[in-house]
Symmetry: C2
Subunit: 278 residues, 2 copies
């Protein structure tokens, strides 16, 4: 057999670090109003959504990010009825949220409608939750949405891209204050906050800011192979509830989340503890 | 300023997945009797030891692997006096082992003496434990060493390269039986066993084999950014002691290990549990 062309996707994760994935073919490429958007089929991880050159999600490892973003928060709040996702246009976090019977309404506030359209088309398994009758999909500026809905939500998720381009405002102190104000008196929020190996300054500043606003601040970890360094962090700001005492699991058929994994995710190595200490 | 040449190290982690690290310069390259050996200076992780093209260790993230290999086993055994490391010529696991006052003797059985020499020269911070008076450095075939020392050790570590080249025999059932025989009646062993995302068949077969030999078998996890997928597994076979009930921490100044991290490392996501079920 003659050699055939090999295609590789390379993400330059910072100026000194890259991940490479062999690609069968490119399924879609466009420049949206907000960012570049590509869908490629990788050999290792199946289909992959890429925004501004960064891996957002893949068919084979998406379950980690979406389960660990959604379920830790929803198992910390005893009765989460009203939930908001800022970003998250692929629908993966919504898919996990609607597994919770307590949830009466889940709003998705995604700024880039093309992410939603493309996810419905190329990632139907991930986007499926968007069709749940409790879900209200809004193509809008999540920052503005948060500012305009005070005291309304039990749980707010910030499912953002990296803190460049359209997501910069989602890592700002003003935004965390607006999130606080949009929560009910016992509400909590969870945001993805990058890698403790590669984004230490970011985690330090997020925790400084969130601690100034919320009475309780936590960091927890998950293994995500397609994100830089594979060690990913999530930050929770809570007005009342303690994630170290989760309610009994309300979900089945998870591939990553269990109550034990939930608790274990908060056991931080000292080099990570150091990033979030006062 | 004119552009200067950019050097990148690329590890093809399997035929579909690679990691890239920007390199300042190559410090050493040779073909030893057993494998190719390179030392490069990366921008992201400092100096890096590469055997047969695979990342073995780097200055900046070596603490995770070495602490989590050494301390979980040594905090599971109440009185570990005699310890063996098969492989581990860089000295990192030995450095952690000699932090335990209970340890009276630690044998390093490394097949490739050049790994030891080069580590002493280029990774003095990692190799420093090799100079401890309790350490007996032996350049020898670890398999033969294990076969010839029956009932002698409290804890045995298998700190191997990937299961290709010189390390193939370290993932074989015969070897696990020899390890069992080399342990005292209450002994235990720990081996690195690759990634649950990328090496599922390997983990399944190792656990099948170890379970046939040891009364208690466990898997635990750590975040290692320079290893494929960043999620790394360790397998413990124990004749008596339970790693879920570790003794109080005997070490200070760790950057990854704590008693809480020890316990949390055994909380396996369902997709990992599935690999090690009977």
């Amino acid at each position: 057999m003659a050699n055939s062309m090999e295609l590789w996707f390379t993400e330059l994760q910072n100026s000194n670090l890259s991940i490479g994935l062999r690609v069968n073919r490119t399924l879609h490429s466009e420049q949206t109003e907000f960012q570049s958007l590509d869908v490629v089929e990788t050999v290792q991880y199946g289909r992959m959504l890429v925004l501004d050159g960064c891996v957002m999600t893949t068919d084979k490892d998406e379950f980690v990010y979406h389960e660990m973003l959604a379920h830790v928060g929803l198992h910390t709040h005893p009765e989460p009825k009203n939930v908001l996702v800022v970003g998250g246009g692929d629908g993966g976090v919504i898919r996990e949220i609607v597994k919770h019977p307590a949830v009466e309404r889940a709003v998705l506030a995604e700024i880039d409608g093309r992410v939603i359209d493309i996810s419905r088309e190329y990632f139907p398994q991930i986007a499926q939750g968007l069709n749940d009758p409790r879900v209200d999909v809004q193509v809008c500026d999540g920052i503005k949405h948060v500012q305009e809905h005070k005291g309304e939500y039990d749980v707010i998720y910030v499912d953002s891209t990296d803190p460049i381009g359209p997501a910069v405002g989602l890592f700002a102190k003003d935004f965390y204050q607006a999130v606080y104000d949009a929560l009910k008196p016992d509400g909590l929020f969870v945001a993805q906050t990058e890698s403790p190996f590669a984004n230490q300054d970011l985690i330090r500043h997020v925790h400084r800011d969130v601690r100034d606003i919320f009475p309780h601040t936590y960091l927890y970890l998950a293994h995500i192979p397609t994100y830089p360094t594979g060690m990913w962090s999530f930050t929770m700001g809570s007005k009342q509830y303690n994630p170290l005492e989760p309610v009994a699991s309300r979900v089945r058929d998870t591939k990553y989340y269990t109550t034990e994994v939930h608790k274990a995710a908060f056991a931080l190595p000292p080099f990570v503890q150091e990033l979030v200490q006062k």
